[in-house]
């Protein structure tokens, strides 16, 4: 149930936080329970359908492509796509974009292995791309993802969907779909658990490093 490095990379603006230890995650304050996570994803799916009109059948409406940022963003993108299909009958294409190669802090951080990148069938040319990630923090990951998207093609528009927005932006970036806004202190840490990786769903807030 280890939390991957991209979580750690997002916490702490410049510095690398230590990786979560499951016991400590357990001890953190629960922000979303297992059933809350499911409900939140369903609500976001409805919002995406409403805002993109992907089920309107209108040929002038842009094709919707969900691009997840590994690892949990990709998982969320798959879940969102499932719900969107359930509610609207239209299944959006799904892709995955690893932003490791686009980070601007590669020289100052420990080595991180690449995650999977996959371009959806039909590419992203002229599509409405919805980037999906679990936590929005400094905005640097999203900036990297925007750079990465530019190399994949030219979407008609790009929107951003995140499960948690915890604030502390360092770049002028905001999300179009937010599961939950959580005001945090910089010393705090957010852990998103997803069934596919961690055996259960849940979002926890904890004090970074406790008394240290």
């Amino acid at each position: 149930m280890a939390v991957p490095e991209d979580r750690a990379a997002k916490s702490g603006a410049g510095e690398f936080s230590q990786r979560h230890d499951p016991q400590r995650v357990q001890a953190g304050r629960e922000l979303l329970s297992d059933s809350d996570v499911g409900r939140t994803i369903a609500r976001m799916a409805h919002q995406i359908i409403e805002k993109t009109a992907l089920d309107s059948g209108d040929p002038t409406v842009a094709r919707v492509v969900l691009i997840g940022i590994p690892t949990r963003g990709t998982t969320l993108a798959h879940r969102l796509a499932g719900r969107i299909e359930e509610f609207s009958g239209v299944r959006p294409a799904i892709g995955s974009l690893d932003i490791t190669l686009y980070r601007d802090d590669l020289r100052s951080k420990p080595h991180r292995p690449l995650e999977r990148t996959s371009v959806p069938e039909g590419g992203i040319e002229d599509a409405l791309v919805v980037l999906v990630d679990d936590v929005l923090f400094s905005g640097r990951t999203v900036r990297s993802a925007l750079d990465g998207l530019r190399d994949l093609g030219r979407p008609r528009a790009v929107q951003l969907a995140v499960l948690i927005d915890r604030g502390h932006r360092e770049l002028p970036i905001r999300a179009d779909y937010v599961g939950k806004n959580v005001p945090t202190a910089r010393t705090e840490d957010i852990s998103v658990l997803l069934r596919e990786h961690d055996g259960r769903d849940g979002v926890y807030l904890r004090q970074e490093g406790g008394n240290e």
Binding site: Y102, K109, H111, E115, V119, D147
Partner: protein, 321 residues
Amino acid sequence: MKHLLSVTDLDRDAATGLLDEAQRFEQALLGREVKKLPTLRGRTVMTVFFENSTRTRVSFEVAGKWMSADVINVSASSSSVSKGESLRDTALTLHAAGADALIVRHPASGAAHQIARWFAEMDEAASGYAGPGPAIINAGDGMHEHPTQALLDALTLRQRLGDLDGKRVVLVGDILHSRVARSNAFLLSTLGAEVVLVAPRTLLPVGVEAWPVRISDSLDAELPGADAVMMLRVQAERMNGGFFPSAREYSIRYGLNERRLKMLDERAVVLHPGPMLRGMEIGYTVADSPQAAVLQQVNNGVHMRMAVLFRLLVGTDEVVA
């Protein structure tokens, strides 16, 4: 990992990690309009080639350029080496000029190791150069090693055969002069494959008994059970005596012709590190058969070298706990 000098520096996990990463680079580039990543922007990669090469130099250059590094090619004939500058001075000059990585090909075995040692001494003496020396990648040193070639061969085999554990790979020909054979023998056995060498006794190196391989005299006997055959070029430029009676006899005994290709399992892979001498160690049609993976090897070479540059040039040395 600071340098890549020898495959013996890689344990099974490290080697598998590099292969996985190369695979992910291939995936990351798949379907892209623009094959250019900003990963190594502002880093300087220099290839220093004291011997001719097409594949290795070009694939390192492409790998560096696809990751936005500034790639500078230095060759012996166009540098002050032709005026008599020593290897040490050339290396120190490139260090001082700001290289972040030196990719070294040299006709003398151990050249890359020697450069790494000089840089380490300089670093220890703290003689005014800023920071530690560049990362050194051995791109072939004499008859010794060619680690990135062995890695890309392993990647090609893994793509064609799946996990290498227990697979039988037959290396055929001029083992003595072949750094590719040496690196492959060690890396493939690290990865769990069974390696068989088939060569004239005169073309086996001293000490081959200590290698993790089996030695055989008969190519015909080894072909039916092989999962892969790696043909090696007969390196006439390194031969200063009669290692075998005639090219024709060598070709008859150790060449992979159409008759021998039929003895192979149809899923078995034929590798050749290039350049191929068609008609000598490999038949004309064999080299173009679907079992031959020669161009796939070249293609993998780029991704493999991206993975190596990424591993050596990106990230601090500290390991994520």
